[in-house]
C-alpha cells in the first residue's frame, strides 16, 4: 500500500509539473507567435521571429477595430462594477445587520438567484429591453450586467458583513450617529475588503463576458472585447491572418493578466470564500 501511495504521489507530482509547464508555455507561445509573420508561423510554429512584428499589434488595434472594442469593454465594465457596488453594498449591509421582518426571506430571494441560469431569463429579458429601446446599446448592456450580478455580489457581501461585530454600531449610536451616518462613517470603511473582492470578481467575470454582450449589441463598433475578438476570428477565416489574431488575444489577456498578477491571492481567496464557508 505504501509503495502504491508513493508511486501515485510521485506520478501526480510529475503530472502537476507537466500541466503547469504546459499552461505557462502555451501563453508564452501565443505571445511569441503574435510577434511573427504569418509565413514564419506556418513555416515553423516553434521558431522565433526574425524581426519582432509589432505591426501586428498596430494592425489589430486600429484597422481591426480592437481599440474600439477595448474602449467599450472598459466603459461597460467600469460603469457596471460601480453601479453594482452602489446598489449591492447598502442592500447587503441592511440585510445582514438590521433585524427586520422578512429579512431571511429577502436574503434567500437574492442569493437563490445564483442557482438560476441566466439562459432561463435571457429571452424575456431581451424583449423587456427591446420594448424600452435599450437593446443594441451599451447602456442597456450595463443594466443587464448589473441586474445579473446582484445575486452573487449580495451573497459575497452578506457573508462578509455578518462577520463584523455589532458593538461598533451600538457604540456609534451611543455617540449620537444616525443609522445612515453609522453606515457611511464606520461600517463602510470596515467593509472595504468585501467591496474590493466584489469589484475584482465582477471585473473579471464581466471583462470576459460573451453571451450577453453578443445578444445585446449588434453593431460591430459597439462590441466589447470578447465579441470583438470572436468577430476577429471569424474574419480571419477569410484573411488567414492568424498572427494578428494572436496579437488580439494578447491585447485581450493583458488587463486580466495585470489584475491577476497583482491580486491573485485575493481573487482566489474571495472566490473560494463563498464555496468553502459553511
Amino acid at each position: 500500500m505504501k509503495i502504491v501511495g508513493k508511486i501515485t504521489s510521485w506520478l501526480g507530482k510529475i503530472f502537476l509539473y507537466f500541466w503547469c509547464i504546459f499552461s505557462l508555455f502555451s501563453l508564452i507561445w501565443v505571445a511569441i507567435s503574435a510577434l511573427k509573420t504569418n509565413r514564419e508561423l506556418f513555416g515553423n510554429p516553434w521558431g522565433m521571429a526574425e524581426k519582432l512584428q509589432f505591426s501586428n499589434f498596430a494592425k489589430v488595434w486600429s484597422s481591426y477595430n480592437l481599440s474600439q472594442n477595448f474602449y467599450n469593454s472598459v466603459v461597460v465594465v467600469a460603469f457596471s462594477v460601480i453601479f453594482i457596488l452602489i446598489i449591492c453594498t447598502p442592500a447587503s449591509y441592511v440585510l445582514s445587520r438590521v433585524n427586520f421582518r422578512g429579512r431571511g426571506f429577502l436574503s434567500f430571494l437574492f442569493t437563490a438567484g445564483m442557482g438560476i441560469p441566466y439562459q432561463l431569463l435571457l429571452i424575456p429579458l431581451y424583449f423587456i429591453m427591446f420594448r424600452v429601446g435599450l437593446t443594441n446599446t451599451l447602456g442597456g448592456l450595463v443594466i443587464v450586467y448589473v441586474a445579473l450580478s446582484i445575486p452573487f455580489t449580495i451573497f459575497l457581501m452578506l457573508g462578509f458583513f455578518r462577520t463584523l461585530p455589532s458593538v461598533l454600531e451600538e457604540a456609534a449610536l451611543i455617540d449620537g450617529c444616525t443609522p445612515i451616518q453609522t453606515f457611511f462613517r464606520i461600517m463602510l470603511p470596515l467593509g472595504r475588503p468585501a467591496v474590493i473582492t466584489a469589484s475584482i470578481f465582477n471585473f473579471l467575470s464581466l471583462w470576459n463576458e460573451f453571451l450577453l454582450a453578443l445578444v445585446f449589441t449588434n453593431d460591430d463598433w459597439k462590441f466589447t472585447l470578447s465579441v470583438g475578438l470572436n468577430a476577429l476570428q471569424t474574419s480571419m477565416q477569410y484573411t488567414g491572418d492568424w498572427v494578428a489574431l494572436f496579437a488580439g488575444i494578447v491585447v485581450v489577456i493583458i488587463p486580466t493578466l495585470i489584475v491577476y498578477l497583482l491580486l491573485s491571492r485575493r481573487i482566489i481567496e474571495g472566490l473560494t470564500l463563498g464555496a468553502v464557508k459553511e
Binding site: 500500500m1 501515485t8 501526480g12 503530472f15 502537476l16 500541466w19 503547469c20 499552461s23 502555451s26 507561445w29 501565443v30 446598489i87 449591492c88 447598502p90 442592500a91 449591509y93 441592511v94 427586520f100 421582518r101 430571494l109 438567484g113 442557482g115 438560476i116 441560469p117 439562459q119 432561463l120 431569463l121 429571452i123 424575456p124 424583449f127 443594466i143 441586474a147 446582484i150 445575486p151 449580495i154 455578518r162 461585530p165 455589532s166 454600531e169 445612515i180 470576459n208 460573451f210 453571451l211 475578438l229 470572436n230 476570428q233 471569424t234 477565416q237 492568424w242 488575444i249 485581450v252 486580466t256 491577476y260 491573485s264 481573487i267 482566489i268 472566490l271 473560494t272 464555496a275 468553502v276
Partner: protein
C-alpha cells in the same frame, strides 16, 4: 448570529434606511431578473417569433415538440450530459490529485495554485482560439509535436465530426480544472493539522492520509464544488460557440444545450427566432440544474461534521 445584528429592528430611523438601502437592488432584481424568469414559463406556452405581436397559445405544444426533437436530445442534450459526466469526472480526478499534492507541504504551493487557476480567468474566446489552433490538423501544434517525437502515425484530423467534441472537452477541462482544484485545496487546508500529524506519527503515508482522513472530512466542500461544476457545465456556452470561428451554425459536436437554445432564439446566419420554443429549452436547462443540485445535495451533504 444574534450578536452581529442590531436588536430592535424597526426602531425609528432604521425603517427608512432599510427601505432606502434595499430599494434599488430589490427593484432592479425583481424587474430584470425574477420577473423575466417567471415570464419564461409563460412564454414557453406560446409559439412566438418575438418581434411580432401575435403569440399563438399552444399550451404544452412546445414541450411535446421538444420531447420528440431528435436534434435536441441526440445532440445538444447528450453533449451537455457528456460534458457534465465525462468532463466532470476527469476534471475532478485531476483536481483531487493536484489539490492532494498541494495540500501537503510543497514548496511553491502558492505559485502552483496561481498558475493552475489562471486559465479560468482568461477570456474563453481566447482559449477557444488557442486550442482550436492546437488541434488544427494542418498546422496545429498537437500534430506537429506528434511529428516531432516520431508518433506521426497518431496524427488525426482532430476537428472531424465525432472527434471535435473531445477536443473541445479537453480545452474545457484545461480551462476549468484549476478553479475546482483551488476550491478543494481551500477545503483541504482547513483540515486541522493535529489529525494529520497524529496519523503521520503513526506511520501513515501522505497518500493514506489523503484518502482516509482529508477526503472524508471535506465532503461538504466537494458537494459544493460538484454543484458548481454541474451548474457551470450546463451553462457552458462561449467555448463551444466561438470554436473554429463560428461562421455559420456551430457543428453538432460543438452544440450543447446553451448553444442550441441561443441558435434557436437568435440564430446565426440563418435566424430562426423561435422564442417560445427556445424558452422551453431554457426551462429544461433550469430543470437539469435544479435536479442536479438536489441529487448532489443528497449524496454529499452530511450535517454533523465535527473535526
Amino acid at each position: 448570529m444574534k450578536s452581529s445584528t442590531i436588536s430592535g429592528g424597526l426602531k425609528k430611523g432604521y425603517l427608512s434606511m432599510v427601505i432606502l438601502f434595499l430599494a434599488p437592488a430589490f427593484i432592479i432584481y425583481v424587474i430584470l431578473f425574477l420577473f423575466p424568469s417567471a415570464q419564461s414559463f409563460y412564454i414557453s406556452l406560446f409559439d412566438w417569433s418575438g418581434f411580432t405581436e401575435s403569440m399563438n397559445f399552444i399550451g404544452l405544444g412546445n414541450f411535446r415538440e421538444l420531447f420528440r426533437d431528435e436534434s435536441f436530445w441526440n445532440v445538444a442534450f447528450s453533449n451537455s450530459m457528456r460534458i457534465i459526466f465525462a468532463g466532470g469526472i476527469i476534471t475532478f480526478a485531476i483536481a483531487f490529485i493536484f489539490s492532494g499534492i498541494l495540500s501537503t507541504r510543497v514548496k511553491g504551493k502558492r505559485f502552483f495554485r496561481g498558475l493552475l487557476f489562471f486559465p479560468a480567468v482568461i477570456n474563453p474566446v481566447a482559449v477557444a482560439i488557442l486550442w482550436s489552433f492546437i488541434f488544427n490538423n494542418q498546422w496545429g501544434l498537437l500534430n506537429s509535436i506528434l511529428d516531432g517525437i516520431g508518433l506521426s502515425a497518431l496524427k488525426q484530423v482532430w476537428t472531424e465530426p465525432g472527434k471535435m467534441f473531445w477536443a473541445l472537452l479537453v480545452s474545457l477541462i484545461w480551462m476549468n480544472t484549476g478553479y475546482y482544484c483551488v476550491i478543494l485545496l481551500a477545503g483541504l487546508d482547513q483540515v486541522p493539522e493535529t489529525h494529520i500529524e497524529a496519523a503521520y506519527l503513526e506511520g501513515a503515508s501522505q497518500f493514506t492520509i489523503f484518502m482516509k482522513i482529508k477526503l472524508p472530512l471535506i465532503r461538504n466542500i466537494v458537494g459544493t464544488a460538484v454543484t458548481l461544476w454541474c451548474i457551470n457545465a450546463v451553462k457552458e456556452f462561449v467555448l463551444f460557440f466561438s470554436w473554429s470561428g463560428g461562421i455559420s451554425v456551430p457543428p453538432n459536436d460543438a452544440t450543447n444545450l446553451a448553444v442550441k437554445m441561443f441558435i434557436t432564439a437568435f440564430g446565426r446566419r440563418t435566424t430562426i427566432f423561435r422564442m417560445g420554443y427556445a424558452t422551453t429549452m431554457g426551462i429544461v436547462m433550469f430543470a437539469v440544474i435544479a435536479i442536479t443540485i438536489f441529487i448532489v445535495d443528497r449524496i454529499f451533504r452530511t450535517k454533523d461534521l465535527e473535526y
